[in-house]
Structures are given as structure tokens and as C-alpha cells.
Symmetry: C2
Subunit: 235 residues, 2 copies
């Protein structure tokens, strides 16, 4: 099997002739799983320089060296959209990170709320999930995964210019067409935000409470469906 | 722990005083897992008679009998929306069935396409997933899960009055606001529909090819995001 359909996120800045020393995991994948050989071509992207063809120039079991050849796509603007979601159990958190990456978010911010039953995340694991999703869905950037933050802390420092949409079953406002500029979607835990939390959130002038439709969604579905609605019309 | 927050789908037609003999799995859950006792109340729905309070009238390890008391919600109209999705591997098929139920579909039709890598489903398992999702998300009906069908067979018998929306990365039409009446969303396998399949689908006059946004979504994400867009404005 050829490696030509492979697309890797690489941290190095890319330019013609740039050498890319892959880390251990990517080297192992190319050398041992895909059995790449010197001279074979694949695609790489670094989140800032667009997407490039690169070829394998040196290969050993633990270290693969690539050389960037020509740019295949220039870096393009992506939505400036945050997802702030109340931390869920591991499998659901993984799903949210993967799907949010596919749907185009720029920042993923786990939050801790009164009814959140989880407080620990393995950030390296979540970053690996986001990278793999970005590689597979042809994105040119990987969202930033931030460490979990208490809801109150996040709200205290909320950026003045960023609009925040909160999923609220009792409201009728819509996310549609609201994805331009600096935006964020916030979703609660199973059981929802407390009244006290909703009041505190409501004191931030950038907040709009919106409906995700007539049905009650599980927490992870609310995040995914909400992002689909918020970002559907965004380039 | 009280069982008052439990909501069960029961097949029997519900009315005041109706006796409901639960099946083995639900009986086991109430008797042994939740340790329900006679007289305790919960909620039940049957897909046609709305939602009812019911109490436990007889309990043994393998057979629990409920009696319906009063209606808590009348049956309400739900979207008449089908999801036709190219069958995926088990975990992804499970996810699609669960999320499609939450998002409000009435029929789930797995399809077999040229690039579909799966051809078997355990319908009982998928029905159990749909029932659990409906119970948890306060729906009053459970979607019908149909056996897998070849794409060509489905298209040959496509109902004249049902509009069909196909996710197509190259189009710009939108699903938004299209969820009223008899509708269906169709999503392809990893790798997409073949050109031959798209041509055959395109010959059906009820078909509209629509975009799900600028990003490329995995097959299961396309189904979930597409339903979020199609049904967002539906009661």
C-alpha cells in the first residue's frame, strides 16, 4: 500500500526543501505500520504554511526524515470559534474533541461546572485525537486544546470581543448564521447548568442563550449539533 | 435511589388502569438493578398514547407488572424524517443510531453501497440503542430501524412524495429549513458514493444535493451534523 494518501500534521515550519524530523510515533507509523520507503511521497501541514507534498528522505525504525517539496494548498482562513464544554466521561470527551475538530473549531476549552462529574483530562491524548481528526478531514490547522478551567474563572476573564452562545432548552434563539467573527459555543454537563451558573453567565453582555431544537440532547450531542449549526455557513 | 426519574418505552397501548407486563430485560433492570418496590412510580411511553405515570404493582426478579395511572404528556407530532446512511463499522453505526434518535428521526434505514465495508447489523441491538436514546431524551416515539438495503433497491422504490437530501461536498445547497413534511437525509460511506451511484441517485426527481459546510466530515459526523441542520427548526 502506498503512503500517498497519508496526511500528517508536523510542527516544523514548512517551505520548499525544509527538512522535517518526525517524532517517534509518526516515524513508527510510517516506517513500521505503513512500511514507507525512501522517495515515497505524502502530504504534510503545519497549521501556518498550508499543505505541502513531502517525500521520505531518510528512514529508520525510530526516526523518519521528510523533505518538503511544493505547496499543494495555501493556508486559508478558518472559523475563529471556541467550543467550551463541560467535561464529560472519557469516551464522550474523546468524541466531542474529534467531532469539534472536524466541524472546524479553533479552540477547545473543557470547563468544570457544579454538575460536572469529571475533572481530569489527559491533554496529550486529546491533542492526539484532534491532530488525527484534522489530518483525516483535510483541515489546515489543529484546534488548540486548553486545560480544564472552572466555569467561574472562564467567565471572569471572558474576552470582550468574543460572542458566547449558550445552549438552553428553554430558549428559541438560533445559532444559525452566527458563526462569523470571534464566537464561542458553551454546552453544559448532563443535568445542565445550575440556576446560579446561568445567572452568572447571563451577566456577561456577550452572551446569547440559544435553542438547539425541540428535542433534549445528551451533552455530547448538544456540542456536536450546536457546532454543526453555528459553523454550517462558515468558510 | 428512587426510580421516579426512570422513563421506559413499553410496547403495550397505554390508558388509565392499563396493566403493563414488562419484558425480561426491563424487569431485571427495575427489580435487580434499581431495586424498585411495589407502589413506586415512574414514567412510561408507548409511541402512540403519549407519556404516562405508572406504578409498580407486582414485582419479582424476572417479571415486573406496572399499572398506568395518568397521562403526563399527550402524543405530539414529531418530524417525519428518515436517515438513510451507508452502513458503518459497529461502533460508528451505534453512534449514528443513538444520535439520530436524539435528533428526532422517524426511520433509520442502513444502506449498502459500492464502497460500504459492512453488510451485517444486529437489528435487535440497534433497536435497543434507539429505545434507550428515546427514553433518555424525552422523545415520545422510537424510530423504526429497518434492515439494511442495497442502495439501488432503495432508490428503485423511493416514495414519490418524500424529498431526499444527499450530502455532497461539491454542492452549496443547504439543509436548513428543509425539515418539514416527508424528508430524508442520505449519507455515504467513508470514501463517498461512486460517480455511478450519484448519477443513479440524481435521476430521482425528489433528490437535492446539499452541502454540510466547508469542511470534510467523517461519515458518521456527516449523518449527525446533517440531521442537526435538517431538523433544527422542526417541532
Amino acid at each position: 500500500m502506498s503512503i500517498s494518501s497519508i496526511r500528517l500534521y508536523v510542527p516544523s515550519p514548512l517551505s520548499t526543501g525544509a527538512e522535517i524530523a518526525l517524532g517517534e510515533a509518526q516515524s513508527h507509523y510510517l516506517a513500521n505500520v505503513m512500511r514507507a520507503t525512501a522517495g515515497e511521497e505524502l502530504r504534510v501541514f503545519d497549521g501556518v504554511s498550508g499543505e505541502w507534498r513531502a517525500n521520505v528522505t531518510k528512514i529508520s525504525k525510530k526516526a523518519v526524515l521528510l523533505t518538503a517539496l511544493t505547496q499543494t494548498r495555501p493556508q486559508a482562513p478558518e472559523p475563529d470559534a471556541w467550543l467550551c464544554f463541560a467535561l464529560l466521561k472519557r469516551a464522550k470527551t474523546d468524541m466531542v474533541v474529534e467531532k469539534a475538530t472536524e466541524l472546524g473549531v479553533s479552540v477547545i476549552q473543557p470547563i468544570i461546572t457544579a454538575r460536572t462529574n469529571a475533572d481530569h483530562v489527559n491533554l496529550d491524548r486529546l491533542r492526539a485525537i484532534a491532530i488525527e481528526a484534522a489530518e483525516q478531514c483535510e483541515r489546515l490547522a489543529v484546534p488548540e486544546i486548553r486545560p480544564p478551567l472552572q466555569l467561574a474563572r472562564l467567565m471572569a476573564d471572558w474576552p470582550a470581543e468574543r460572542r458566547l452562545f449558550i445552549a438552553d432548552e428553554r430558549r428559541t434563539g438560533s445559532l444559525l448564521g452566527n458563526g462569523a467573527g470571534q464566537v464561542a459555543l458553551m454546552t453544559g454537563p448532563e443535568g445542565g447548568f445550575t440556576e446560579t451558573e446561568l445567572e452568572a453567565i447571563g451577566r456577561i453582555p456577550q452572551v446569547t442563550r440559544v435553542s438547539l431544537g425541540a428535542r433534549i440532547l445528551r451533552a455530547e450531542t448538544a456540542a456536536i449539533a450546536g457546532l454543526a449549526l453555528l459553523l454550517a455557513a462558515q468558510p
